[in-house]
Symmetry: C2
């Protein structure tokens, strides 16, 4: 998405908690609680959000209400509402619900592709072509992203070759993707690898480079974000409270924590547009809607350091005004 022109350099945080987070926990969050959380994230200044997956409810009951959630989220102004679609049927439903952006998973690892979407990578590229044609016909303003799963290694298959990732990214753009992001689905990435792969993919697909979707499995999430930033990435997926993982990749756990990510980027002078006190208020709404799930993140415990100033020069909102 295009960002408003501001004095400080801007980065886009794409909040994936309502999709990646909620599909990874066993509890099913009631629709009203999801909507309350999504509204609180909007109030915090989130400008892109992945609100759910258009998958059969029998497979992921947590996502059964996705159309209703999308219909609500698009009524809030000034943000991009995304949904994950695993196939053409999902894309049809997502477009009917009114999403602004579709994201299709494409695994770099053949084994993960079969486990995640029960299709080969080649079949997923065919699906992408079909979705791009549909989008062009019925909703040309809707953006189409490919999120490349297991782009840094796969717990099922093992290492994933870098030229395979680059080749698939180029093939996805060729097949109609507007953006291709790379996902560390299994938490195997290290900063040197993240920097190399994003640079290579950036060199191959240029302005089509999408988001970095990084996990915190071994504590390297924010270091990997920094490496991706160095490689030119300007969109970062993260999840409030670090909720997330992948139900079809053994050993995958926790996304980068939005709260810590916002703190890091703003402290570095990179404007996210997000207010941390209001993000803490959203965390309280999440906790109320999902009381049994542990939430991650160090910044919520530590609070902001004395003298903290946002990248755009604002001082922190006092917590009592943010709730």
């Amino acid at each position: 998405m295009s960002l408003p022109s501001l004095a400080a350099p801007t980065v886009l945080i794409s909040e994936v908690g309502p999709r990646d987070g909620l599909q990874s926990v066993t509890a099913v969050m009631p629709t009203a609680a999801k909507i309350a959380w999504i509204d609180a994230l909007h109030a915090a200044g989130v400008r892109e959000i992945e609100v759910g997956s258009f998958v059969p409810a029998a497979r992921l009951p947590q996502m059964a209400d996705v159309a209703e959630v999308v219909c609500h989220a698009v009524t809030r102004p000034g943000w991009t509402v995304m949904a994950l679609v695993p196939n053409l049927r999902g894309a049809e439903a997502a477009l009917a619900a009114g999403v602004h952006k579709l994201t299709l998973p494409l695994s770099a690892s053949e084994a993960h592709s079969q486990a995640n979407v029960r299709r080969s990578r080649a079949q997923m590229l065919d699906e992408l072509r079909a979705i791009a044609r549909l989008r062009d016909r019925v909703a040309p303003g809707v953006a189409l992203e490919v999120g490349m799963s297991t782009a840094f290694g796969c717990t099922l298959q093992g290492p994933v070759a870098e030229d395979e990732v680059v080749r698939l990214a180029a093939a996805a753009v060729e097949a109609g993707a507007d953006e291709v992001g790379l996902s560390d689905t299994t938490g195997m990435a290290d900063p040197a690898q993240v920097r190399r792969r994003f640079r290579q993919v950036h060199a191959a697909i240029g302005r089509h480079l999408g988001s970095a979707h990084l996990h915190n499995t071994r504590g390297l999430g924010l270091a990997n974000v920094l490496a991706a930033l160095d490689a030119g990435v300007r969109t970062f997926d993260s999840s409030q409270g670090g909720l997330g993982g992948c139900p079809y990749a053994p050993g995958a756990s926790g996304n980068v924590v939005t709260e810590d990510l916002v703190f890091m980027l703003e402290a570095m002078g990179l404007d996210t547009g997000i207010d941390l006190a209001r993000l803490m208020a959203a965390r309280a709404v999440l906790r109320a809607g999902l009381p049994d799930e542990p939430l991650h993140g160090m910044t919520p415990e530590a609070g902001l350091p004395p003298g903290f100033v946002y990248a755009d020069g604002r001082r922190p909102t006092p917590p009592q005004e943010a709730a």
Copy 2:
């Protein structure tokens, strides 16, 4: 210290848990338990270790046995045994016990200097001169490090100016320090600031640049390590299980976790000389000696990813052989 020449680029991890970690917890670890832990860290491949502080036992009872601990640690071959000394008297005792390296805290913040050592920064530079003279006279082979506390901000004083940090680092070298490291005592550093400050200090003091001592207060520890690495730092302080903080800096908490740091650096192709399975065995020894203290770290939970190879080409040691 000089490192052996190996094929992979090397970094030095300076384990500070027995000093920084144990002085920050309320329990007093028995001497035998400390020694068992230190031996396990040696067996894991740790090559520099800060084993205690030569401070009055009335002030830090956790450190009352420091001389005995040093006497044991120096019997292990092939590593550098350090101790923190707050003044000349501490340095005399540390040298008498046989340490290989002294580290003196020098606060960038005047308020923290008073709270931490009850002396001004100027008085600490005088103390440093006296310690350097003593060292030259009685133990010229012993290295003298200055660890600059609150180099990225202070919870007592607020922001700390960059040119103040550079000026103090140069003054410490002038006063006799072999190395000057920068410490994020209060967990306020961000990667952009870490990169800038280490570059500035590196430009000012060159080969005297010492370690990066970074905390994980807001989850940025490893991202800050990556930034310091980019700025030319090759020695990193960390603490097993993330134990640590600063008893005299409100809000300070947890050091960078050695387990996660070793995983990150080795995955990046940087040789630490440390075996992760044996480091997990040391963690078990620590846990047995300090049963009520929560230990941090994600890698211990997640384990090593499939196909992991150390920077020097070794495959992981199976856990049963490492214990």
